[in-house]
Symmetry: C2
Subunit: 462 residues, 2 copies
């Protein structure tokens, strides 16, 4: 019967000593005069299955010469192999070639650098590491949807094309259909964007938060999960020009509710991946990041700590440790500071709250001290900040003043301000950089290796 | 106890005759000298709940004057009202104002045109119609993920920024960080895109299919679900510049498998929405599109028909009906033709297969007749085409020739061709325009009314 490698691994009793039919790709092949072995992977499961083929096959010689990644159909009997490393194998009675491969197949059976594999991004999901990374990426995506949907959150597709700038900063990609060789100009010799597709200048979004707030003030609990963009000229292992963000936004909720949601979400999605990607997580734990599973389980089982920014600064000042960046009340925390707090002081995830208003975005709610805002960053061992969020400023006059103070024009935010005018209420939300979460869950250290076809400075291949 | 409107509707026995606490927005309010009624909606549920408040409240007079959309906290007892239209109401013992609204609230209790509501896209999810639309959009999104994930499909985030053009056609948005006032030029007086962010000219994607194929040839079954873009200057009720697409891609699969998948998916997602958005679907059925539920149930319970394009042309030629666009073998089917076939001939969903190769994309597999390709469109009553797909050309030489025949450069498709060189196999896939599906499921007729913040020609507000 036609089946898959996954079905066999998950329910081998059903197939043992029966004739099965599989289709897949040759991950490895070796043969001698009278028999040979194929590791067959059909993409449905992390592990491959061993095929034994012998000279009774009429195309025995042809099969023995096949190159890696050839796609084949195999019929044969599944037999238990209690003496061997693998629990079972298939004794082939028929092997049919579906699509040949060639000797120059770029993913030969040897260690390749991740850098080289990036140059064959169309083939790298056929390797162990990237098969594991991208299946975990998929399972993690689903865990996020599942978490929010089961709690009644409404998923909002906030716009990708935008004429505003969510953070009042951030370098953006311009979008245009104008003929660059022949730009229309106004009488003042400015580019005439009224002739552009949208009748004005537009960019790619850097965040869906402001639009998500509009929906939270209708549906109470909402979330976004979509691509966002930064045109930052940062060629580092942690920056990509295109990445996905998860941004829940909750109404009738304050910073405490926000932290509770973030903690619940982190524990849920980590548990879900540990449970639903066992083989992949064991692979990462063995070959990419030893101690990964213990660290993740530690997070699931811990109560997250909460300290204020002011307490964090005290901790850092009293630390018996030399930091590259000195700390003083008012400065932003660097990764070295964040990691010290979460790894050395508390040894578990830590929320840092109530940052100085000067270093945080305009929409964050000002605290009673008029110096800090109701912000929260979640720091986790091994990485530092993984989530940033805040309670939002719901007081119309204060928000208007903050917009002015930031050199922005309240007219550009008319609808965002109206959310405070017509039944505004306390609300809060946070952002989880999805790639950062994938890196955290897999132990992969370069963002280019957790995005199927990464877009970074000077690179948009495929 | 603090609860939600949804919890009360779903489990009213638990709350009856108990003190409850709710937070939400005033959807409607009327009051007399000694008592008043509030319809309170908290966003968690389509329906509102009735609050009765009397003069024993110390702020009775203040409450009576509140404007629509004011956010309030209500404490009171839930009591059954067997004589009334609504099954229960809350007798308020305390009402606290959280955020006032004003008399100029733009969403007054009267009929507004959808066109007007588009101008207040930040507030329209607070109306019945758009609350229903956008909750269904969210539930439908989840149904799609659930369908594919439960079948072991891997979700792939294909790139949004691209330097290629999936269809070999289609008008695209250019992306740039160059200073348009001061464009760098080459010696040949061309714009020097090597100075642009990615070192070359880039666009927004029109489809993730080609990249999804790379992943299908590693994971067997994959799908994408993300935004795609068209810079088409079409100001119609069915075109948006930014919309979401669902694109499954399956390996070791042919056109038959593809049609089976499309049929299973359509039935699953429709059933899921009918089951999980009951109140919203009843609303659409009553106020937007009478007969909607029966039509959708009809689809779930029918066996989809399959005919070839050649048969479809015969049917249309023999039709006792005048078409605006005459038919002849070789022309593309228009919506009037599609609707005739699915609504008048078969009265159920119909797959039309094997279209002339000249009217379909380069990547579709050529049939043995060398005239048609293994394409399939799914036509459904009330709309016409809702899904388009095909088996993909897996034969390297034929694909290369097709690329040349379409005036494209095989070098630009080097990696796509390599998928056929290294263990290619038969594979297939299709695309479902997500907004088209939302329109189909809700009966809404303008694409601007199923996208939270729509982007169309000359319009990118919010």
């Amino acid at each position: 019967m036609k089946t898959t490698v996954k079905a066999i691994y998950q329910n081998s009793d059903k197939y043992l000593d029966k004739e099965v039919k599989l289709e897949g790709w040759i991950r490895n092949i070796r043969s001698s005069k009278s028999f040979g072995f194929i590791e067959l992977n059909d993409g449905t499961f992390f592990k491959s299955i061993q095929i034994v083929f012998g000279e009774q096959l009429q195309n025995f010689r042809e099969i023995g010469k096949l190159h890696l990644s050839t796609s084949i159909m195999v019929k044969g009997k599944l037999v238990a192999t209690p003496q061997a490393k693998q629990p079972f194998e298939i004794q082939a009675t028929e092997i049919e070639i579906e699509g040949i491969s060639t000797s120059d197949y770029p993913l030969q059976k040897k260690r390749h650098t991740f850098e080289y594999l990036r140059s064959i991004a169309h083939l790298r999901p056929r390797s162990n590491t990237f098969s594991a990374v991208f299946r975990v990426r998929s399972i993690l995506s689903y865990a996020i949807h599942k978490f929010f949907q089961e709690r009644g959150f409404v998923y909002v597709h906030t716009p990708i094309i935008t004429s505003s700038d969510a953070e009042g900063a951030g370098e953006m990609f311009r979008l245009t259909t104008l003929d660059l060789q022949n730009l229309p100009m106004t009488e003042d010799n400015e580019i005439d964007f009224s002739k552009d597709f949208f009748g004005k200048s537009t960019n790619l979004t850097v965040s869906g938060q402001l639009e998500a707030e509009a929906y939270a003030l209708a549906f109470k609990d909402v979330y976004t999960f979509g691509p966002t963009f930064r045109a930052e000229n940062s060629n580092t292992a942690r920056h990509a020009a295109e990445f996905w963000m998860v941004e829940p936004e909750i109404a009738f909720a304050d910073l405490e509710d926000n932290m509770k949601l973030a903690e619940d979400m982190m524990k849920y999605i980590i548990s879900y991946v540990l449970e639903n990607a066992k083989e992949e997580m064991e692979f990462f734990n063995s070959f990419i990041d030893q101690g990964l599973i213990a660290r993740l389980e530690g997070i699931v089982n811990s109560d997250f700590e909460k300290i204020t920014y002011t307490q964090a600064i005290e901790l850092l000042k009293n630390a018996k440790k030399e930091f590259q960046y000195p700390v003083e009340w008012g400065v932003d925390l660097q990764t070295e500071h964040e990691r010290y707090i979460t790894e050395e002081v508390y040894k578990k995830p830590v929320f840092v709250t109530d940052y100085p208003k000067e270093i945080k975005a305009f929409y964050m709610r000002i605290n009673e001290d008029d110096k800090t805002v109701a912000a929260m960053d979640l720091l986790v061992p091994g990485i530092g900040e993984i989530i940033g969020g805040s309670q939002r400023e719901e007081r119309l006059e204060i928000l208007e003043q903050k917009i002015l103070d930031n050199g922005m024009d309240p007219k550009d935010y008319w609808w965002y301000l109206e959310l405070r005018k017509y039944g505004g209420t306390k609300h809060a939300g946070f952002g989880l950089g999805f790639e950062r979460a994938v890196m955290y869950l897999t132990g992969m250290t370069n963002i280019r290796d957790v995005i199927p076809f990464p877009r970074t400075v000077k690179s948009a291949e495929f």
